[in-house]
């Protein structure tokens, strides 16, 4: 059985990576749970190790977000010139939260809000995380309201933010559905699906 390692800059990108593999490469297996780098600053200096893993051992899917910067510039800055075809670094534009918003049906269901409130072009939103927090604040589910949004500052995430949204990604979110609203996700799906062909 083919195996792939998922690396994410935080727990949410890890959850997205795991879901992408499960949905797009159903015959593949993840030998390890995704590696959570706990911050992009810890991911970048160690990218070379994951490139080595892909070159010498097994494919690697690495997920981070652009935080509003230009994708091409970031990739040029972070990656060496030659990377193996089984190493993928995919960047969510502009944040992982955009990909969550992109599956508006599932998100509205999960948060128990009206789907009309969820923006349709999430890649173009300047601050998708704030957008997601605003939606969570309107949730009809009390536990979500209390844990996803900070009690002290409604603009900030609460202590259960990652837990709830990782759970959402693992159980409700669909990459294929979300792709129709997010061009950055759509491109990533093509590349991940190609992995299957590239390695045959």
């Amino acid at each position: 059985m083919k195996q792939i390692l998922v690396v994410g800059e935080d727990s949410l990108t890890c959850a997205l990576g795991a879901s992408l593999v499960a949905e797009l490469l159903p015959a593949w297996q993840m030998p390890l749970p995704p590696i959570d780098k706990k911050g992009v600053t810890k991911l970048i200096p160690e990218l070379h190790r994951y490139i080595r893993q892909a070159t010498e051992f097994r494919p690697v899917l690495c997920i981070a977000d652009t935080d509003g910067q230009c994708v091409k510039e970031l990739l040029d800055q972070w990656l060496p010139k030659h990377i193996p075809e089984n190493f993928l670094l995919r960047l969510a534009v502009s944040e992982a939260e955009s990909w969550l918003l992109a599956d508006h049906e599932a998100l509205a269901n999960f948060l128990e809000i009206s789907p009309a409130r969820v923006p349709r072009t999430p890649d173009e939103i300047a601050d998708p995380k704030r957008n997601l927090l605003n939606l969570a604040r309107r949730s009809k589910n009390r536990v979500i309201r209390q844990e996803v949004v900070s009690r002290f500052d409604p603009e900030k995430q609460g202590s259960g933010y990652n837990q709830h949204f990782c759970h959402f990604v693992g159980t409700h979110w669909s990459a294929q559905r979300a792709a129709s609203n997010s061009p950055s996700l759509k491109r990533s799906i093509v590349r991940i699906t190609n992995l299957e062909n590239a390695l045959n």
Binding site: E56, R58, Q163
Partner: protein
């Protein structure tokens, strides 16, 4: 000498394990997977082998009796068995020593714990095998090991001495700082480091100075503002103290005694002292506690470096939960992964796939620590 292999049957939460050991061992596992129970075997053997106030019955009593020691998973076979091999080096084909001790409750009358087997092999040759005929006619003999009896252990006293030299360190800074207030009784062998100052005081002055100088150098790097470390005896009470100078806006800084040191400073100090004293096995329980991450990741290097400078090396077994510490372990095969199962915990080193992943770019923490995480931790049910 070092312990190269340990086999356990019905020991606490290990129903049946067989582990090879090298000069360093890093034990990882979920909470309650048995890391401390594994280390406890060596403390148990130490108590048995101790010439003063030791012995099998004492070692059992310290642990609340056989009932608390025996694995809950031992259903049919009630016997507890320890088999341990020691060699001069980890690469020796044949163990220099092999010691086997098995015991169980006699199951009637006084319910004494009786030895069912005690054997010693030297270079594969049997030099002790019990029970002997006289043990059978006088079962009281089976309540004591020959290891603990000077009259009976002359052929393998070296083995007993090695067991007795084991040190266990789980320094609890508060016990050391507030020892007078809580009138802390120091438990035998001082597992919690309360008697650190007394041990430092008993060390010959020249050795003490050399060791403290080395510790000072390490602490200067690890602890901001730390500059000098000195030993002093209180002029009135005579009690031993450590004092350190912390640089600040005053020209000469300020001197502080150990009760004002931070928890992390004290733990690091205790660790560095322990590495420099004694010759037997050293057991370290979660050395990362109270320490900054940046220091934790250097623990494997600190241990190797301090021990390399000594004439005789020490074998070190470390229990840890620290991501940073495990990430820096050079030899993945030194990592022992404890995995709880429905039938007791198992212990293993990285398998081929894990070893390969580590050799090709990943670090041991990335590959192995996820296996110690509770499986359901990401589910929403945590704490209701």
């Amino acid at each position: 000498m070092l312990i190269t292999r340990l086999k356990l049957k019905n020991w606490r939460n290990f129903r049946d394990v067989d582990v090879k050991l090298g000069p360093r061992g890093y034990l990882i596992g979920a909470n309650a997977s048995g890391k401390s129970n594994f280390l406890d075997v060596f403390r148990f053997l130490r108590t048995i082998a101790q010439s003063e106030g030791g012995g099998l019955q004492k070692a059992l009593k310290d642990r609340g009796g056989l009932g608390k020691l025996r694995s809950l998973h031992a259903r049919k076979d009630p016997e507890v068995r320890i088999e341990i091999e020691l060699s001069e080096s980890a690469s020796d084909a044949e163990a220099t020593w092999r010691y086997i001790l098995a015991f169980k409750s006699e199951g009637k009358g006084q319910q004494r714990v009786l030895i069912t087997e005690e054997s010693v092999y030297q270079q594969g040759k049997e030099i002790l095998s019990r029970p002997r005929p006289e043990d059978k006619s006088d079962t009281a003999r089976l309540t004591q090991t020959h290891l603990e009896q000077i009259n009976n252990n002359e052929l393998f006293r070296e083995l007993g001495d090695y067991f007795a030299a084991t040190t266990y360190l789980h320094l609890v800074p508060q016990l050391l700082k507030h020892n007078d207030e809580i009138s802390g009784r120091i438990i035998e062998n001082d597992p919690f480091g309360q008697g650190l100052l007394q041990r430092i005081a008993k060390t010959p002055a020249k050795t003490r100075k050399a060791r403290l100088d080395r510790i000072q150098k390490a602490l200067e790097i690890a602890v901001p503002q730390f500059s000098e470390l000195e030993f002093e005896q209180d002029p009135i009470t005579g009690s031993p103290h450590l004092k350190a100078n912390f640089k600040h806006w005053r020209v000469h800084g300020s001197w502080q005694r150990e009760d004002q040191f931070s928890d992390g400073t004290l733990r690091l100090l205790g660790l560095l002292w322990a590495l420099q004293e004694g010759d037997g096995l050293l057991l370290l329980e979660e050395p990362e506690l109270s320490l900054n991450d940046a220091i934790t990741e250097h623990i494997p290097l600190i241990i190797d470096r301090v021990l390399r400078k000594r004439k005789s090396s020490r074998q070190v077994l470390i229990s840890t939960h620290s991501d940073n510490l495990i990430a820096e372990v050079g030899d993945p095969q030194a990592i022992l992964l404890l995995e709880p199962t429905g039938n007791g915990s198992t212990i293993r080193t990285p398998d081929e796939g894990e070893q390969n992943a580590i050799e090709h770019g990943l670090n041991p923490a990335e590959v192995l620590l996820p296996k110690t995480h509770p499986k359901q931790i990401d589910q929403m049910s945590l704490f209701g």
